[in-house]
Subunit: 153 residues, 2 copies
DNA sequence: CATATATGGTTACAAATGTAACTGTCTATT
DNA sequence: AATAGACAGTTACATTTGTAACCATATATG
């Protein structure tokens, strides 16, 4: 018996999807606590803010593609950020279905503040997980991302 | 300008929580499709099944600790699996609050079938992401897991 | 130019989830 | 033994999410 294993030789503790998910939840949660406590943002809202802040003016579809969120999540997040006056929409001149999203001054301020927190958190993480751990993780993620790009992710 | 970056020097694309989450979703989703299509299981249900299959008889609390799921998720998953007759409960003799969960023959059969899929998927993953990618990811996850153990995860 | 089909984005409805309150049982302290 | 607190597990309610249908506009095809 390999490790308390009972039926067959499968071990959940070794299964990559499980481990990855658990680690992601752990790590995302600690940061989510920050933007939730500070501003009451949801994750889709933070992601939308971050996408617009770091890549500039974009359409909702582009935000979704950039940060892998479903249309409806983006739509709701945009609505919420708009209500806070953190972003404004402008209709595309040529295609009246599309609208361009852009952060307002207030949005930029919040973005700056949150990215400062994000950087702090990255540092904290580096300390918590260790330099080599982060390094390994990052290079593993590179590989996954490359695979995702190949097989539509 | 470093990479299409507009405000400040934060890049979402480099932010570990984001990358980790995206990769986890991608990887978990591909496998979820299998157990969802095959058996109509939810993720909490699959996890509970996997935990019981791979570690044997356990209480609901233990399942939760083992697979990091909230009480209520476990409770509902147990209920669902019980309805399918994949597990049975027996009350603890000494502590009448606790109940031990155990897979039935049908549960074991399903577990075997699903772990076969899981192994196939692991192999597929290894091919998709590459041997060294998986290796790196795994050692990164080890570091995270160690950190989680320290700081209550 | 009429019709079909695709696309950007929103909305309605159903399913999943988290939070908090609850029941029943156990343990410790008096 | 009586009371208070902790713990296993469930349930009710609110929030979040996913799916599918939808509206409006754009593009392609006959």
């Amino acid at each position: 018996m390999s490790a308390g294993n009972v039926i067959g030789d499968f071990d959940l503790e070794q299964f990559l999807p499980f481990r990855l998910n658990r680690a992601a939840e752990f790590i995302a949660l600690r940061f989510a606590a920050a933007y939730k406590a500070e501003y009451g943002l949801t994750r889709p809202e933070w992601r939308t803010l971050a996408a617009l802040g770091s890549s500039g003016r974009m359409t909702a579809t582009e935000v979704g593609a950039h940060s892998t969120m479903h249309k409806t999540k983006v739509s709701r997040a945009v609505f919420a950020l708009e209500e806070r006056r953190w972003l404004k929409r402008t209709q595309d001149e040529d295609d009246r279905r599309a609208e361009h999203l852009e952060l307002t001054a207030a949005g930029i301020k919040a973005y700056r503040d949150l990215t400062r927190l994000a950087r702090d958190y990255s540092a904290e993480l580096c300390e918590l997980v260790g330099q080599e751990g982060v390094q390994a993780l990052s290079s593993g993620l590179n590989a996954v991302e490359k695979a995702m790009a190949k097989r539509g992710g």
